[in-house]
Symmetry: C2
């Protein structure tokens, strides 16, 4: 399978200024694999409980996602409940019921261990290490994380970062992890830990890419319709990894395009609750929005005589 | 004179994590006109007191800035004292002594009333209206403001916005003024008030341009060396207006370049206290950093076959 994604599968209950939804499909690996499925065949590994609604599995299968290695476990599915204030910048957790996620012990079937692209969606970094130990060195291994692991398992997270090619964090997380408010400085410290690239997801302010060789600043999408930010970072990652797996081209130029594709997928994802916007998303819309990103961010070279 | 800039002239006392400086040159019109002087002949109007150090006037004159209409007033020069916390995102005011600024009643000499480019740097919006009433319709009239006027003179600020071509605000200000956390929505509301363009300065996150016709997202500079953010917005505005006055080209394409030039000047300005970085800035560095902005923000078009 070109792309393997491992992470959480959830039933979310979410309140935003635009409405309230109970027990809707969510989870880091779900958002990521639905986004990636627009570009590349994707296998999804994550734990579901006995109570996981079959229609969600049907939806994932209909998107061509390989569920053969799904971990079907006893007990109820992982639940997350939270809300967003008026400014939508931060998720406030009301309830976390780990349920089957607490016992999740990922086993990668032999057939999937040689996947050339692997994305470790947000998950306990100890499990991320377990996964890394089971797979053959992929062409591109990327991982996401969250503030909870930065606070509770900093050292384990260090180990993960040493072993991956790209680490994805949001701006608050990287500031916290590297203990500086300066994002370029934080990224440069993170690169010194040993990974090849750092992607800083800044929500409404776009995304930054830092590698050992270069820097790329991806513009923010002028998002007037922001309904629910849940899964924005995961759909970004899924778009990014799906595009790279599809094109199988890790040149700096193509990685930049991947960052824009990630931004495009996230910008769609936040327009509705759960996966609802991605469910009705068309490839043509992706192409159009990518071009829109180009249009609203490009500028010409300066004429020499103009600055002197 | 191609460009006229009216605003405050100050002696600032500033503390940042990188040091503390007393009674250094500052003021919205000073930052703006020093930045613009790299591109266009500029006339500066603002109030100075009896105690204003002559060496500052010598510096401004040496930059070719026309000080013939400076308002030399009785009493001490305007003073501002403030500090920045570790994250440098927000200025905290410790002391504001308006001094001669409280009596400032701008008179535009006949010779300057026909300046084709006019920038109203941050100032009481009632004074901004007084200035507008004295000048002939410029080719480009832009204004800046601050939270203090949004809170205390909202209606007068509305009048200013109706009369200018471009309004510049930072992200917090436009959110506050338009009463929404959503920046594109805030900009679209502001455009409806009657101005042609809105520039949102987002500090470390770059800048956004919204006009009736289009949107432009300018990248952030990866600023590892951020010493003192004072005057960043003013030097942005000065670079923007100076470049437009120099090129005398208000095409959308050239306005975008102006936004990048503004970003370039702001990115240099914050590297040292007061005007110290601009004092030693070379044209060649401006050209190089502009190219750097292009390099770290460009990406190629998507190949049709890649997204399907």
């Amino acid at each position: 399978m070109p792309l393997l994604i491992i992470g959480s599968i959830a039933l979310d209950s979410i309140k935003t200024p635009f409405g309230e939804k109970k027990e809707i499909l969510g989870g880091s690996a779900v958002y990521a694999s639905v986004a990636s499925s627009f570009f590349s065949p994707t296998a999804l590994i994550g734990p579901v409980g006995k109570d996981f609604p079959p229609e969600h599995l049907d939806f994932l299968k209909a998107r061509g996602i390989d569920l053969s290695a799904l971990h079907r476990m006893e007990g109820p599915t992982f639940r997350w409940g939270g809300y967003y204030e008026y400014d939508m910048n931060q998720a406030h957790t009301l309830e976390t019921k780990l349920n089957v996620l607490a016992q999740f012990d990922p086993k990668i079937p032999e057939a999937l261990t040689a996947s050339p692209y692997v994305f470790l969606a947000n998950l306990d970094p100890e499990l991320q290490l377990k996964i890394i130990s089971q797979i053959k060195r992929p062409k591109m291994l990327a991982a996401d994380t969250m503030n909870f692991w930065i606070e509770s398992k900093r050292d384990v997270l260090h180990e993960v970062i040493k072993k991956v090619d790209f680490i994805l964090m949001n701006d608050a997380e990287i500031r916290q992890f590297m203990e500086t408010p300066n994002l370029p400085l934080a990224a440069s410290r993170l690169l010194k830990l040993g990974c090849r690239g750092v992607i800083v997801k800044k929500g409404e302010h776009g995304a930054l890419l830092f590698t050992q060789e270069e820097h790329f600043s991806a513009p923010s999408y002028p998002q007037e319709m922001l309904c629910d930010p849940t899964g924005a970072g995961d759909s970004f990652a899924g778009g990014f990894m799906g595009y790279l797996a599809k094109t199988n081209d890790l040149s700096p130029e193509n990685i930049r395009k991947g960052v824009i594709i990630g931004s495009v997928m996230a910008s769609f994802n936040v327009e509705d609750f759960s996966l609802d916007r991605l469910k009705r998303l068309k490839h043509k819309e992706i192409m159009q929005r990518f071009e829109e990103f180009r249009r609203f961010s490009r500028f010409e070279a300066l004429l020499e005589e103009h600055a002197i």
